[in-house]
Amino acid sequence: MISFRNVSKIYNNKVAALSNINMEIDRGEFVFLVGPSGAGKSTLIKMLLKEVEPTAGNIQINDFDLVNMKRNEIPYYRRKIGVVFQDFRLIPTLNVYENVAFAMRVIEAPKKIIRKRVPMVLSLTGLSSKFKAFPNELSGGEQQRVSLARAIVNNPSILICDEPTGNLDPDTAEGIMEILNDINHAGTTVVMATHAREIVDRMQKRVIALEKGMVVRDEMKGGYGYEA
């Protein structure tokens, strides 16, 4: 499903952000990506989003060859993955419902389906009562739930999360993790880059640890593994 083969990335300043990464993530897995700042987590996430090109190696995700992908194919690839950022990235001029519906409108989904699907996803993320609110009227946790709803509204096979709890207090983060777990149980592969030790330790999922651009640990039911 997600396959990295000998993937390296060297930026212009000649520092290797990633060197010789090999990993396989299967359908339906939940994977934490951990490591200190500058270990290469962001670069790896950006590669998954087709935002950064590897300097060497191959990346295969579902049926998509990310290295040899044409520019006009990128949108269609991105429709198959959902993404959640630390800073939510909601559109401030749209309310909750519109923010989620926006993701469907962009891919030109029929209105009928939008009207059915959006309320469903909003109830899944516990936002049914807030659908008319604007992002600035919501708490951080609520905003992140909107962004989660937006990420899954198009039924992606992979959900990529870049520090989704980074701006949230522990209780709120807990709620987000519950939703992520539900999404994963429904069959979606989840890849989550994080610094949240307690979450990783408690969830007991697969952990891939990066350090200086290399995979230093890859274990099933792992823990965070670093002393803070």
């Binding site: 949108p75 269609y76 990235r89 030109e108």
Partner: protein, 296 residues
């Protein structure tokens, strides 16, 4: 493109235009000025062309005779004119008739210019010939010109040539000005769109992450540019119509020229071209400026 998407694009473009009202209006005004100036040159050119057609349609040839033409030469010339089947009619203008005609043309105020002409008339005698068709004018001229005793043959060609030379010069001036103004228009529309795009760069980034195609992102901005271009074209056309209508009533009162272009032409025939041109300027202006914001 689906109807829903189209509606969304149009609403988006309208909102953006409202948000950047001042800039949108100033860009539309530039487009208007560009097309207005183009229109002025176009109208002058079209009127001159009408004038040329009018001169050509008069089919008149005037053959001036030498002072010392012999009687034989005169009869030979007249014979030649009579037997030419392309000539519809002809009259002979004596020196006296020529003076009278000149007097009428000069009017009372300038009559003093012709003092002394009665005693020593400098004007030549001439035949005024009318051809049956415009294309036969040159045939007639070449059949007559080898004959003796002719001072000069004048047909409309000379005036036409002068008019053409004048309009050619005008054409280049107009074209140059037009190109410069198009450049300014493109720059200003581009700037307006650039600001619209820039103020929404976050949104564009989000759109790209959720799988929007480049064209999906581009369309609202292109529509915005197109609206600016079309509004400018519409304004230019209306302004041109009003200005030309005003001018032409003044001119037609002062001079009796019947061959001027009617103002309705601007509203009916010119408008589609203006709209298309405005649309093209608007679209190109925006496409150029969105380009660099699309790389996410």
């Amino acid at each position: 493109m689906k109807l829903n998407t189209l509606k969304y694009f149009m609403r988006d473009a309208a909102n953006s235009l409202k948000r950047n009202k001042t800039l949108s209006i100033s860009s539309a005004t530039t487009v208007m000025a560009t097309l207005f100036i183009l229109g002025i040159f176009l109208l002058v050119m079209l009127n001159v062309r009408l004038g040329i057609l009018d001169v050509e349609s008069r089919l008149e040839i005037q053959v001036f005779l030498q002072k010392n033409i012999t009687a034989e030469q005169k009869t030979a010339l007249e014979e030649k004119i009579k037997e030419n089947s392309n000539i519809k009619s002809y009259t002979f203008e004596t020196q006296e008739m020529a003076i009278k005609k000149l007097e009428v043309q000069f009017g009372k105020d300038y009559k003093y210019l012709m003092e002394g002409f009665e005693k020593d008339n400098p004007l030549p005698e001439s035949y005024i010939i009318k051809a049956d068709k415009p294309e036969n004018v040159s045939k007639i001229v070449s059949s007559i010109s080898p004959l003796g005793g002719i001072e000069q043959i004048k047909d409309g060609k000379e005036i036409v040539d002068k008019l053409i030379a004048a309009t050619n010069a005008l054409k280049w001036v107009g074209l140059g000005l037009f190109i410069i103004l198009i450049g300014v228009s493109l720059f200003l529309i581009g700037n307006t769109i650039k600001i619209a795009v820039f103020s929404r760069r976050r949104e564009i980034g989000i759109m790209k992450f959720i799988g929007a195609t480049d064209w999906f992102i581009r369309w609202p901005f292109i529509m915005e540019g197109a609206v600016i271009g079309i509004l400018g074209a519409l304004g230019a056309d209306i302004l041109l119509y009003l200005g030309y209508k005003y001018l032409i009533t003044k001119i037609q009162k002062a001079l009796i020229i019947s061959t001027l272009l009617q103002p309705g032409y601007i509203l009916i025939s010119l408008l589609p071209y203006f709209l298309i041109l405005g649309l093209i300027i608007g679209c190109i202006g925006s496409i150029i400026s969105i380009k660099k914001f699309l790389d996410v």
